[in-house]
Symmetry: C2
Subunit: 448 residues, 2 copies
């Protein structure tokens, strides 16, 4: 369940006959890792290729960005996860192309990795809708580096405000704009307000952090559009109580280092200028370019507007029964005829499905039918003891939803030690309001 | 006691009459922070100036560099530490000069901070003995960025070795050179061997991490030269058992990206070439340049070879009773006539002393006499259940010294939550051998 899902699998996986090979690019997200783990003890060799050496639990990245958790609390080394799975090997590398005829995957360093079966699960990246120069001004939240950079920007804005004497400039520094009102945007906005209201309440002498403005700019006419309308309403109320401003049906048309221009939907008014020094991007994702690349390599395969590969009901692609695409990189229709959402549970279930399908093939058995997604629901947290959740037609909000959110997110963390560390920090933060990881770090931090 | 001390205070502090002002540069280390805290509830205004927004517990940085702890576990936001001390304010900024006549401190952004009393405690930085180009090839261990960069280099070397097929190149990648056999060097070397032997034991498929070579190059004829000779011997034995090679009486004469040249002391042989891809610097420190600057500003003040300011017995400088220099930035003789070591306990005791002296001045009382350092001892850990310690003439090693080391380092951590987090991770690592923070991060990590 949950938008534990909104950030999804980013794995390319491949297997090689008796010596299969599974590969990932960027972070080995849920889909690819689950496939690899599902093939444990099968008579195959699994190669997992990833640009990073860890599995990252993206749904909690916003807590790193707001100083509540450390990166290592939500990341687990891939080698550590797979160390006892003797049929697996991890390759740290970047996939740059596919040689399907010769059953090879090309890596950036020029080397080739052979495969019999290939699973591509490299997920999604930020989508600035053609305005790529916004990336520098409004970072998104996909990697650890994104999160520590946003943390640096948010904390530095308060620091600069504390030293600023001009009230206009101070107000600008204390205004934070979050573009996008999905789960990431809502959680990020809520967390910044909490940071200002509670964590840093007594920290400053010249400014009152509670005056910090947090504004969500959302193109649709409600936040959490994937949720039931009643929960969107609840979320908007909770955000309002916390002091987060929500601007609905409003599009960002320009981002500069000192302001953002937004334009309400047609007929609702003129473009407006928001004075701000800190903008975060939580508005859109597009598929990793490897999606397009594999579609082209196979030929005759459709790619949707977001760059996702249209896959067969069993997650294979085109006429290739030896190539699978899963997770955010795949476009597949659910039982209701609508496209499956870009959520981790989809990727995880696809990963398990593909591992099972390959195991059956190895035993000479027929597949168990097309992939079916079991929708466990959605959830998003807004602030301390505030969340919304829906599952199997049941909708709830407030403290109970928040507890459910905590439980689910703890359970989804990859390792016991991370669960303990996160639990302790959440408990501590709940009791004291403190967030222990409020560090301004990075190369720019050394020379402020 | 303890080399909890070896990395010391880096604070410039100043006070302003009824409105004193205390300032720090780079990390507010032990000395400056203790001075500020010692002035709590005194009728003064304290301004603490620091380049970073956190207090860093440097003695555990090597555990960040080897993936055992996260940066936030050993760092505490300065504002958080001082939030309830209402006579204090924290300024995030870099000091670039002193205007002693007008009682001003100049910051990099051009603004001035006034003071009545100034305490400078900006500590020390790496000393490459004139070979500053080595800094890039052999990073030291003073900042969080240093630690995560060394972590990236060490972990990447294992990753590259796993993919390397040439045995010579593979051996080079699996050779780690630590320059300097003081506590930092010994602890770093031991931690890398532990990482290879225990933590990553089952992680790889092509290489055996246990074949990783760790070499300490030390200029003197024993490691831990500040300790009793018997403990140096014990430490060398422990290092040998763990498989760390120690080269004594040996100087580094060149560092390149693929090797290090070392030269044994005169008459002991020709220069030798060590093939290595990863070098760490733990050999020397020099005072922050602000030491020289404040000495020049006052005039007629001596600065020693390491750039430390020779201070009066009460930690004032020259003829200025309103300017103090403490910690690593100060050169002061102990009761035995020898210079006080560059250790945190010296800085902390000086900080407490100066806070007390200022408080007495405010009450019109005479100072309690010159500063006296109480030497509590030294300790260094070598590996799991292996350490050496000496205090008040008592020397011990092995498990007991290791427990003492754990206890002292936990107690020195600034905040309860950090103690809990570090304790849990040490416990977990002791039981499972795992180190949870083995992340390859940073800008270079995104594009391997």
């Amino acid at each position: 369940m949950s938008h534990v899902g909104r950030n999804t699998p980013q794995i390319a996986t491949n297997f090689q006959g008796d010596a299969p090979c599974l590969m990932a690019q960027r972070n080995t997200r849920f889909g690819g890792l689950l496939t690899a783990q599902g093939l444990n003890k099968q008579p195959v060799d699994v190669t997992l290729i990833d640009r990073r050496n860890f599995h990252l639990f993206q749904p909690l990245l916003y807590q790193v960005a707001t100083g509540a958790l450390s990166p290592a609390n939500i990341a687990s080394p891939l080698r550590s996860i797979l160390r006892k799975q003797r049929n697996s090997r991890v390759v740290l590398g970047e996939v740059t192309g596919f040689e399907l005829d010769t059953h090879q995957v090309r890596l950036k360093d020029g080397s080739d990795v052979p495969f019999d079966t290939l699973i591509v699960a490299t997920g999604s990246t930020h989508h600035y809708f053609g305005n790529d120069k916004w990336a520098e001004l409004a970072p998104g939240l996909k990697s650890i580096e994104n999160a520590t950079e946003i943390r640096r920007r948010v904390l530095s804005a308060f620091e600069r405000a504390e030293r600023e004497t001009d009230p206009t400039e101070r107000a600008r520094l204390l205004t934070f704009v979050v573009v996008g009102g999905g789960p990431t945007g809502v959680e990020m906005a809520g967390a910044i307000r909490e940071l200002a209201l509670h964590t840093m309440r007594y920290d400053f002498r010249s400014i009152d952090p509670a005056t910090a403005q947090v504004i969500i700019v959302e193109g649709q006419n409600r936040v959490l559009a994937a949720f039931h309308e009643r929960l969107s309403q609840k979320a908007t109320e909770s955000l309002g109580k916390m002091g987060v401003q929500v601007r609905l049906a409003c599009h960002v048309i320009d981002i500069q280092s000192d302001h953002v221009m937004v334009k309400p939907d047609a007929g609702k008014g003129d473009p407006q200028r928001i004075e701000t020094a800190t903008v975060m991007w939580a508005a859109g994702v597009k598929a990793n370019p490897l999606g397009k690349m594999i579609a082209t390599a196979i030929g005759g395969v459709e790619v949707d507007r977001a760059g996702r590969v249209v896959v067969n009901p069993d997650c294979t692609v085109g006429n290739r029964s030896d190539v699978f695409v899963i997770g955010d990189l795949a476009s597949q229709k659910g039982a209701d005829g609508k496209p499956l959402p870009g959520l981790a549970p989809v990727a995880m279930q696809q990963g398990e499905y593909v591992a099972d399908l390959i195991s059956r093939r190895l035993r000479g058995e027929a597949p168990r039918g097309p992939f079916k997604y079991w929708d466990k629901g959605n959830m998003a947290t807004i602030g301390k003891a505030k969340a919304v959740a829906e599952t199997q037609g049941i909708r709830f909000s407030g403290f109970l939803a928040w507890l459910a959110w905590l439980f689910v997110h703890i359970m989804y963390l990859a390792r016991f030690e991370n669960r303990m560390m996160v639990l302790f920090q959440w408990f501590w933060s709940y009791v004291t309001g403190n967030r222990t990881a409020r560090l301004i770090t990075g190369e720019k931090a050394e020379h402020p």
